[in-house]
Subunit: 312 residues, 2 copies
């Protein structure tokens, strides 16, 4: 038995999960926003409640920040004040002390990558690139069946691959990154620009990716163009990443992946021709399969991987 | 003792190398261009001559093509007719049969990456990205001390990362790849374009990277601009690759790297700001150290790695 906790900007989700990945109990509650201490208390209580009387071997946590495994510390957590107060704290050790269980932490996209590789769209692949599409664009790299987090925990940050050197500034300090184009604010910005000079069913509505995809499905030309631009940018980034890594599977997840094959098929077409034909032929592209469970399942997998050394 | 053979488009280089990387004997001769059979005979004789009476444990070969380890076959060898006739042949097995020694083959950029990781500019790094700058732009990825060749042998092909979707067509079938900009033909094309409207000491001279660098050192504004563009394109590609892989070392090799710090320092400056600051801070950038020996040393390393299973 393992406990997986998925710390998000709004909710804390948790689950008790057995060694085969079966979810036995869940919690889902607003995350403690204010202070690090309250967040740590909430996480500790969540572990106790989820554990019940069951023998919990380890606790895993996925969180929206970079985890530097060389120092066991969290960094770069812009969205959650309580968590950003923990920057520089060895969070795994702290949680282990409070829960009495071995505890391991990981970036949430990396945790989702582990989950998909274990039980989802990558379960039959030894090498995998996960891309998560949401407000931000994250990712995870799995090589020879093992998560590669990089020297300082940033590996998989495909969202900050620069596509347009003259593009808009990005939160990372660069400009024209993939995320500035295909993160949800990128969808909105591109739609807005087009709406200044063109009419569309999108006018007056919130320019969320889901609404834009819906309008595109309905035949709205502006919306379809936004979707096509998204696919082109993703194709450029993925083509480059595939030439560099030659992985056998690309998994597209995150909220925006709910657009399904309507988006994925276009991304695949735009990737074709932007990498070596053999590299493209040897890679299959899938939508993430674990959806809302990827966070807690991935966190539990982080616990298993952490407890058992390094292998997956 | 190992024999390393470096099959190039013009020369066959070879060396007998001991387990510490010391070169004991060398050969350097025009490569058999015409037929696969002649090339195989030449390689076999080279192994015999280099071996002398010494006990050779294994033979390694680096060659200008992609090696698909899942099938042990060579593909994509545009520059050498004799070798391209061997496409689809399990070259390692064939060479083992002829030499009576275990034989292993690898892409030449990957072999150079192994050489640098073993004895050169990456010897203290557990993760490394090699970029080779020459007529083409190749590379190698080393993760956890092991070469990652990818599902079908293409890993490290950073030269075909698309930087400019509207750019010039590339031999890989895409357009605007890094190689179209910073491969030696890219230097020449960009210099030529500028020479149409501007005066420069480059006019009337062969537009080779080395000559352009020399002119830039001498203060020629057009030449300097070509160098700066090269650095910018490399910075964009490396920034993206670093965010994706977060390796601790970038090694720049190949003939064009003879430009030394004059080019490398500019590449480093252009990479800074195109990846997460921490990713940049945790990566050191070095020129390749093994120069002309990288090929044969890398090939010998291919033999050692092949013989001993997978680890470096």
């Amino acid at each position: 038995m393992y406990v997986g906790l998925d710390v998000g900007g709004t909710f804390l989700k948790g689950a008790r999960i057995d060694g085969t990945g079966r979810v036995e109990t869940r919690i889902h509650e607003p995350v403690a926003q204010d202070t690090a201490e309250k967040l740590l208390e909430q996480m500790t209580k969540a572990v106790e409640r989820l554990g019940g009387g069951a023998p919990i071997r380890a606790v895993g946590v996925g969180l929206p920040g970079i985890v530097d495994h060389s120092t066991s510390r969290v960094r770069g957590v812009p969205n959650l004040p309580a968590l950003s107060q923990l920057e520089g704290t060895p969070l795994g050790e702290e949680l282990a002390k409070r829960t009495g269980r071995p505890a391991f932490i990981e970036n949430d996209a990396n945790a989702a990558g582990l989950a998909e590789a274990w039980l989802g769209a990558g379960r039959d692949a030894a090498s995998l690139l996960l891309v998560t599409l949401g407000t931000g664009v994250g990712g995870a790299v799995i090589i020879r069946g093992r998560l590669w987090t990089g020297r300082s925990g940033y590996s998989g940050e495909i969202g900050h691959m620069q596509l347009d050197p003259g593009g808009v500034p990005c939160g990372c300090g660069s400009r024209g990154c993939l995320e500035t184009i295909v993160g949800s604010r990128g969808w909105a910005r591109r739609a807005e620009e087009k709406l200044r000079s063109r009419s569309s069913t999108l006018a007056g509505n919130p320019l969320e990716p889901a609404a834009i995809v819906e309008a595109a499905r309905g035949g709205d030309a502006v919306a379809l163009e936004v979707v096509e631009e998204t696919a082109r940018a993703l194709g450029q980034a993925l083509g480059g990443a595939l030439n560099l890594l030659n992985v056998e599977r690309v998994v597209v997840g995150g909220g925006v992946a709910a657009a399904g094959p309507f988006l994925l098929d276009r991304v695949v077409e735009q990737t074709r021709g932007r990498c070596w034909p053999k590299v493209f032929a040897d890679c299959s592209f899938r939508l993430a399969e674990l959806a809302g469970d990827a966070g807690v399942v991935g966190a539990a997998r982080v616990a298993m991987v952490g407890l058992n050394g390094l292998g997956l």
